[in-house]
Amino acid sequence: MSGGADCPCPPAPLAVSGRPGSLPLTLVLAPLLALWTVLVVGLGLPVLMGLKLVRLRRLAEAARLVIWWYGRGCVALIRAFVPVRGRGLSPASFPQPCIVVANHLSVLDVYFMGAQPVWNMCFVVKSWPWRIPFYRPFMRLAGYLDSDRLPAEELLARSRAVLEAGGSVLFFPEGRRSRDGNLGRFHSGAFALAVATGRPLVPLCLAGTDRLLPPGSRLLNPAEVTLAALPAVAPAPFAAGPVGHIELRKLVKKRMSEALAALRSGADPHTP
């Protein structure tokens, strides 16, 4: 089943690969984001390393808080130049600890996670971000999980440990960025974790980040970005059968697909 097959009406393509970016926007916003990054890395990393030396027990939480504030700063800077809309992003929409599943359109998506209200969030990420020198120490300190390197069973065990310690876990279940704006194949890990732990699953829909920074482009476009959290899904009804998580995965994908179609048509999706 393809990602788009769940939607009753075929959505218009969102991706704008090849569209020329805006040089003025890039020349203003990119240096501001770079400065903010230098500030956070320059101040945050020494503080966190100092906390590591004194063996702070909650070091991972401290690192996640720094990353979340960094993301919030990035969103605030971006919001000064392009519209950023939030729907259903109140803390009540994210019963903690929870499992968040977000669609993936752009490298900017992770920065926009600063717009959601949960600071104690462990990201499940692929291997390539670990190669960014100034992000890697923060990711290690925050206990982020490498989905390429860890076997699925260990990834689930570590994710479970994060939830048991009170942290939430963020997955991009497509595992890669969409190139046409439609949802790709969802991997099952997040949904198996929800069924195994009984923790609620919060679908988070992103729209417009692929227009703000199209895949392959180095230039930013003035595009509206929307984040919409859908109502949390309780996994209990899916715990009965051996493959209940597959049914949960299909349900969540259907709801996200419908919500993204609504966002594209200018309507508001149903949010809490």
Binding site: M1, S2, G3, P151, A152, E153, L156, G175, R185, F186, H187, S188, G189, A192, P242, V243, H245, I246
Partner: protein
């Protein structure tokens, strides 16, 4: 079931349950490298195939040697023959 019916049911089940593009379901396709299925998907695949074919296959040692979709087709055809024998 005929061999073709088995192949069709396997492919239909995998396409529906794992959102795979039917065009990618070639006999030479490897589960990990070509179809992108991880170890969790592999466990799920065995369960959904057991449900689709209504037979237990997880305890069969030969299943450990399956690398491609064609291997899986052949395995299930053999399992059908063994059950009919």
């Amino acid at each position: 079931m005929t061999d073709k019916e088995i192949v069709d049911l396997v492919n239909k089940t995998l396409a529906e349950e794992f959102e795979l593009d039917p065009a990618s379901l070639r006999p030479e396709a490897g589960f990990a490298e070509d179809l992108g299925l991880d170890s969790l998907d592999t466990v799920d695949m065995i369960i959904v195939l057991e449900q689709a074919f209504r037979m237990k296959i997880r305890d069969n040692e030969a299943i450990r040697g399956i690398r491609t979709l064609g291997d899986l087709h052949a395995f299930l055809i053999e399992a059908r023959d063994a059950r009919g024998a």
